[in-house]
Symmetry: C2
Subunit: 217 residues, 2 copies
DNA sequence: AGATTATTGTGAATTCTTTCACGAACTTTT
DNA sequence: AAAAGTTCGTGAAAGAATTCACAATAATCT
């Protein structure tokens, strides 16, 4: 399979979420125009993106919702699933855990690490909780692919190094500290303040407004 | 001033955060190479980005940290500041509020709306808290530019419409529901699960790995 | 049964972004 | 004082992503 462009990947994930809710609602087919509208992009993008995964629709009824959902999953999901841990039992960590609890599509394991006494050693939403000291020990037993970092501590870089050494290959970094890690590790800095700053700029400069639709001839 | 490319805006915000911590540490000058390393991008990108805001460095000592920080602020900040409200007093809402409390650079007002009885009518980190019912009433008195949506409710679209009608022009949407709003409104969907899905894909497909540095001749 | 309309798939054009490559300015080394 | 090494700024090339525009197809209307 050809390499899928990153922007396409991001949108495919969105389409998939929409398709799943359409399945739930009992919708059987959808046109690129409608899907684009629901996803917040253009119909052309939808069609190009689906080209990338080789899914073909019909000019009559558009795309078969279930089939398409399956096709996206086929291309994107790893058959072994993805194992995830959350580090940090504060407000944010627990918020994310709650969030995941309600709708985790294809992630097999969840683990949680935290220093908070009342959280460690419990099972929360089916998710085993440990103390931070146990990280190495636990990751020795259970493989974890992605760690969600949601702590306030200063020693995040150190912690990240420990995680990578224990076999973690992806980090979602909710701390405001930029992490420097080997390039094989996927790191996404999710700094909440940066998102606000960005919104502030675009709102004030009106740079985000799309150009007008051009007239039909 | 020429329109600043969106990617550049995103990076400028990152540079600025770094520059502020450098100021705090007493560093007076920095080279594009170092700044790039700290920001996770290339020196060429740094130099191009700074071109976009018309800041000139020196070939000898690089960029003056304070001056550059000021220049970025001059281009990006609205002199009137940005007024922000958080809707939702659950774990996520409070996490974000805590987060903002520690480091809000140039946002003037914070308001918070929530249904939780024990949160409304309080002042939290200097942030006035109201019930959701008071939204129109409060927004009539105080302008709010950006709202951070951090609720679990189903009627998010409705709520968003109300907010926009009350003058809100930007929304950071932490709910999993895609919002359909007039194109003048800046909306960023921040669905936490999508971030995980994306990480899962890139981790498993190793698409994120940069190509090797090429040899010097 | 022909004209009209809607939709997909996709080459080609366009726009946006990154990277390359090198001149100019200055410092340090030999 | 010449050579070698930095670094910045930037034109130009390369690479990605989006958008345009239209052929192909099938349904519906007149």
């Amino acid at each position: 399979m050809e390499k899928i462009p990153p922007r396409t990947v991001a949108r495919l994930i969105i389409y998939r979420k929409i398709l799943n809710s359409l399945i739930y609602e009992g919708v059987s087919h959808i046109f690129s125009r409608k899907l684009a509208e629901m996803a917040g992009c253009t119909p052309e993008q939808v069609r190009r993106d689906l080209m990338a995964i080789g899914y073909q629709g019909s000019t009559v009824s558009g795309y078969d919702v279930s089939e398409l959902e399956y096709s996206i999953g086929y291309v994107m999901d790893d058959p072994e699933g993805v194992k995830i841990a959350i580090v940090g039992g504060g407000l944010l960590g627990r918020a994310i855990l709650d969030y995941c609890y309600w709708r985790y599509p294809n992630f097999s394991t969840f683990l949680s690490f935290s220093n908070e006494k009342d959280i460690s050693d419990k099972v929360y939403h089916g998710c085993k909780c440990y103390t931070m000291k146990q990280i190495e020990e636990v990751l020795e037993m259970e493989t974890v692919d992605i760690v969600i970092l949601a702590i306030e501590s200063e020693h995040v870089q150190n912690l990240a190094n420990r995680l990578v050494k224990s076999g973690v290959i992806g980090i979602l970094n909710y701390t405001p500290i930029h992490l420097d890690l080997p390039s094989e590790v996927f790191v996404e800095d999710m700094d909440l303040m940066l998102a606000i700053d960005k919104a502030a700029f675009f709102v004030k400069h009106e740079t985000h407004i799309k150009k007008k639709k051009k007239k039909k001839k």
